[in-house]
């Protein structure tokens, strides 16, 4: 019993420490720039995990979803400062080879933190689901 209590206490303390951990150097420029990791579940066409890489060239947000052989180039991306709303679009294909367009709408949260996040929804054809990524 004492061992379990110790394990639970250690887990809670570790979790608390990690939740407050902050890297010394954060990215303080454009809030979307960087690599983001998270989930976009409930799809027949893609897995639950998602990696998004976003760039800022001074005029446009560009990037890629899941860099690799089946990557999706982001063709349209916007950040609306009023409410910090994020909109991403990219073209892909479903398992039958039919073209589909992914549309992601979310809200940028914890703006001041290095591990800020984007929470919202994804849609592609008739599919949709929750979307959440955090900056790495």
């Amino acid at each position: 019993m004492r061992a379990w209590t110790f394990v639970i206490a250690l887990t809670l303390m570790t979790g608390a420490a990690l939740s407050h951990a902050r890297p010394v150097a954060a990215q303080e420029g454009h809030p979307l720039k960087g690599s983001w990791l998270g989930t976009w579940a409930k799809s027949q066409n893609h897995g639950d995990d998602v990696l998004v890489v976003l760039k800022w060239d001074g005029k446009a947000i560009t990037g890629m979803i899941n860099p690799g052989t089946d990557n999706i180039t982001i063709k349209n991306a916007t950040l609306t400062p009023e409410g910090w709303l994020v909109h991403l679009e990219g073209d892909s294909k479903d398992k039958a080879g039919k073209p589909i367009t992914y549309i992601i709408d979310g809200k940028l949260e914890n703006l001041g933190l290095p591990h800020r996040s984007i929470t919202g929804t994804w849609k592609a054809g008739t599919e949709s689901g929750p979307f959440k990524i955090s900056r790495q």
């Binding site: 010394v24 150097a25 954060a26 303080e28 420029g29 001074g58 009023e82 703006l111 001041g112």
Partner: protein
């Protein structure tokens, strides 16, 4: 009565000692012309055998002369007069002002890079090394770091040779009595000024600084910010920094962080 008679000399002695010490600490530097080295270059430091440094901590990075309360705007509407922000940059700076600069990396011992080097408290020195064809800008505050300005005519690195850093890559030259410094290659891990807090930049930041010493006790600092990633056009800010005859106090934020108030949302000192 005897007690008073005994105390009077002690008090007088104490006063005689205290006055010179207080006067020394409050001593105003003697006025004088711009000092030069024998080859006529401007000397940004003390005279040979002397001591002193630039008493930083003053100056607002703002295009217009707006009223400030420490690191914050007295009139929130003045944010449009500070700089020609892109919409996202203005919103981010507004957020940082609204949250009292609590996320500023500087109190966590990140270097005072960019224009911040010239308004961070605890002093600054500019050391000329003509034999090495370079100048050093030494920060007494923050992480007590320094920047190298190459004076040998070398170009900035280009392409893959660019290694973004806090202080970037600085090259300088003289235009009469003004030191002109061109800097690129910044990373995005710092806020580029303490006043107003939260001023944003991107890795496209290009600084052109004009540094001069119009008289012995004044350092004139003028900086043009060219950052198409965060601003709609280049813009310029300037301020004067006074000379003090004291030596730079030894201070390391890692050892004796005097900015912890800001970590909980306090004022930026």
């Amino acid at each position: 009565m005897r007690l008073i008679a005994r105390l009077v000399p002690v008090l007088l002695l104490g006063a005689s000692l205290a006055v010179p010490i207080a006067a020394q600490r409050a001593a105003k530097p003697a006025a004088g012309p711009t000092p030069h080295w024998p080859d006529r270059r401007v000397n940004f430091g003390p005279l040979p055998g002397g001591k002193g440094h630039w008493n930083t901590g003053v100056g607002n990075l703002s295009e217009a002369n707006v009223k400030m309360d420490g690191a914050f705007l007295v009139d929130p509407k003045d944010i449009d007069r500070i700089a020609p922000f892109q919409p996202w940059a203005k919103a981010l700076v507004q957020y940082r002002l609204d949250t009292r600069g609590k996320d500023d990396p500087h109190p966590r011992c990140i270097p005072p890079a960019g224009p911040r080097q010239f308004n961070t408290p605890y002093g600054l020195e500019i050391v000329d090394q003509p034999e090495l064809k370079r100048m050093l800008v030494l920060s007494g505050g923050g992480s007590r770091s320094w920047r190298v300005i190459y004076m040998d005519g070398r170009p900035h690195p280009a392409g893959d040779d660019v290694n973004p850093t806090y202080y970037g890559h600085s090259v300088g030259h003289w235009e009469k009595d003004t030191l002109v410094v061109d800097t690129v290659g910044f990373n995005e891990r710092f806020w580029m000024t303490r006043r107003p807090t939260g001023m944003v930049h991107t890795d496209m930041l290009h600084l052109i600084e004009h540094i001069s010493r119009p008289d012995f006790n004044t350092l004139r600092y003028e900086v043009t910010i060219d950052d198409p990633g965060a601003y709609t056009r280049p813009w310029t800010a300037s301020w004067n920094i006074p000379w003090t005859t004291e030596e730079v106090e030894e201070y390391f934020c890692q050892d004796n962080n005097k900015d912890t108030g800001q970590l909980v949302g306090g004022d930026t000192p």
